[in-house]
């Protein structure tokens, strides 16, 4: 009898929950009333009222229907943003790990700068310049999200560089591109699998924040942040307009973080390999470095010494 691995239960539960969420988001809207259908005779009805399980908003729109259809937008934007930021981050991570020093230096500095710059400020400038829309939102999220993925990739690439198999490949005369893609490339995959859900969670919060500020998804298209923004004036009279979408966001993030931890635990259990990237997605992956104060602070990207 095989011992059930630790973390598998977490993985199963959170993966199921996430699959359920995706299904509700993408199939649910077909079974619910139109989320932008107004009904001015039934405004601000509390949850559990007839016909409206989660109540209605100030324009009589069904909150459940809006949340479900907002889930579709929010999840879609978050997933695209997650993939884009991981792709861009991986490219930069590998660039930072090249032997060609000026390129690596440039890539390091770009990571530092982008990591440090508050994304809300960036969003304000870009939206001021080109106006808010969903493609702009996705670009913003990719811009805000790639540095964390880049740093994870970078530290792994630099770690692998020093190993014997890479040295051997260099001795045999494999070129740098081949070494990076064929030899080091596969070693990055587990870490990416772990950070993907965490990145998605960060993206969901980011989308909600930007939409809440009016910089993201624009009304009447429902998104979780947008529903919160529209519910804000009714804080006193209609608690459900702000509490419910916020709770949805928090639960979704919790599920995604659980998914990341589950994947990490499974990978560690199976391969005895430490995939130590489980930090919070927004606040940097260098806690390991923080615990050893002897590392320099000025260059947070340099947690792994270059050989």
């Amino acid at each position: 009898m095989k011992q059930p691995e630790k973390g598998n239960a977490l993985l199963t539960v959170s993966a199921t929950a996430f699959a359920l969420l995706l299904m509700v988001a993408f199939v649910g809207p077909f079974f619910l009333v139109d989320p932008i259908q107004q009904d001015l005779r039934h405004v601000l009805e509390p949850p559990l009222s007839p016909n409206h399980l989660l109540g209605t908003d100030a324009l009589g729109r069904d909150v459940l229907s809006r949340l479900v259809s907002g889930a579709r937008i929010s999840l879609l934007v978050a997933l695209v943003g997650m993939m884009g930021s991981i792709l861009l981050g991986t490219i930069f991570g590998f660039t930072s790990g090249t032997k060609f020093k000026p390129l690596a230096w440039l890539s390091d500095r770009l990571i530092d700068m982008q990591m440090a710059f508050p994304y809300v400020l960036l969003a304000i400038v870009i939206v001021a310049a080109v106006g808010p829309s969903i493609p702009v939102l996705i670009v913003l999220m990719i811009l805000a999200g790639w540095p964390s993925a880049a740093r994870v990739t970078r530290s792994i690439v630099l770690g692998e560089r020093a190993k014997d198999y890479v040295r051997a490949a260099e001795l045999v005369g494999a070129n740098q591109l081949r070494i990076l893609t064929r030899y080091i490339g596969p070693t990055v995959v587990p870490a990416i699998l772990v950070i993907a859900p965490l990145q998605a969670a960060a993206m969901i919060v980011m989308e909600a924040t930007l939409s809440f500020l009016g910089l993201g998804v624009q009304p009447p298209t429902p998104s979780w942040g947008g529903i919160l923004l529209e519910g804000k004036p009714y804080l006193r009279d209609a608690w459900w307009l702000t509490t419910l979408p916020g709770l949805t966001i928090a639960l979704t993030c919790a599920v995604l973080i659980g998914l990341g931890q589950g994947i990490s635990a499974k990978l560690t259990g199976n391969r005895r390999r430490r995939v130590d990237v489980l930090r919070d997605p927004l606040q940097g992956e260098d806690s390991g470095e923080k615990i050893q104060p002897s590392q320099e602070k000025g260059h947070p990207g340099r947690s792994v010494e270059r050989k």
């Binding site: 400020l121 606040q283 000025g298």
Partner: protein
């Protein structure tokens, strides 16, 4: 000293780069503010007049040079909307934002030190559990939602604190609390880990053998050694604090640069947007510079090994 100078130089280059980027980006892509200022059916003469007034009738390089010359005299141009120098509007707002950020930072540090140390002392105790709970909330609940919940509990239901604005020091409590919660988890985690690492050191045993009181060992002897990693986290928190302050200001209608930026954005007041971004980004770069330099002063190991 060389390190000091190169850091200052780097900061200056970054600030200048940000200024140029913001200016060019906004001028190239932005709509015509004269059209927004004028009524829909304004005649072309009126629009032209506004353009002359705003200076947008000239080429981008001329505008840039006017802007740069103004900059050397400490001016960021005039706001289209408020018809006032941008600096007169932005600086008071910046001051409020800094108040907010600073009080949030202090609040989170106090919580991190108390909760982090106590949960390192008894792992698995109720304080450790409470801290984990707080950390989970801080990590997964978005700032603006926490803010809205705080408003509805403490100002709408209980009526203890004002829900927004900046009229008295009480107005700072809720926004700082919401903001502090976003940076607390990382601080707490790092402090707990480093306190736990310090606990087994010889000097702790010696201090205990000398009969020094427990709380004194924890909060004076251990804390002094354990707080260096915390300082690194605080440095990384600056970006989150500034970004978060913008969000918190909107939630609490707090008159800082964040709410000002959104007002300017909807009014398409480009000089104001530009001024705010430049001031905010420069503040941010300067604060980071300060943290870096402070870190080298406090931790000599960085100074020696810092060139690595």
């Amino acid at each position: 000293m060389r390190y000091f100078l190169s850091r200052v130089g780097q900061a200056a280059v970054i600030i200048f780069g940000i200024m140029l980027a913001v200016f060019v980006l906004l001028r190239l892509t932005a709509g015509d503010p004269a059209r927004i200022k004028g009524q829909i059916f304004s005649s072309n003469e009126v629009i032209e007049e506004y353009r002359r007034q705003f200076g947008t009738d000239r080429g981008i390089f001329q505008q840039l040079s006017t802007f740069l010359v103004g900059l050397t005299q400490g001016s960021l141009g005039d706001s289209f909307r408020f018809q006032q120098p941008v600096t007169d509007i932005v600086l008071p707002a910046l001051q409020n934002t800094l108040f907010l950020g600073l009080s949030a930072l202090l609040l989170s540090l106090v919580f991190a030190v108390v909760l982090g140390t106590l949960s390192a002392r008894t792992p698995g105790g109720w304080i450790a559990k409470l801290s984990t709970g707080v950390a989970i909330i801080g990590q997964s609940a978005p700032l603006f939602w926490v803010g809205l919940i705080l408003i509805s509990v403490f100002s709408v239901q209980l009526g203890w604190l004002p829900s927004g604005g900046f009229t008295s020091w009480n107005s700072l409590v809720l926004p700082s609390l919401a903001l502090a919660l976003t940076i607390l988890p990382a601080q707490m985690r790092v402090l707990t880990a480093s306190v736990r690492a310090e606990m087994t050191e010889d000097y702790v045993r010696t201090a205990r053998a000398f009969g020094i009181k427990r709380w004194r060992i924890y909060f004076v002897h251990i804390l002094r050694n354990a707080s260096l990693p915390l300082l690194t986290v605080v440095g990384n928190d600056m970006g989150i604090l500034l970004g978060g302050a913008i969000v918190a200001e909107v939630v609490f209608n707090f008159p800082g640069i964040g709410s000002l930026a959104l007002t300017a954005l909807t009014a398409r007041d480009y000089p104001l947007v530009q001024g705010i971004t430049i001031v905010a980004a420069s503040t941010f770069v300067l604060v980071n510079l300060f943290v870096d330099l402070a870190y080298t002063l406090i931790n000599p190991r960085v100074r020696v090994g810092g060139q690595a």
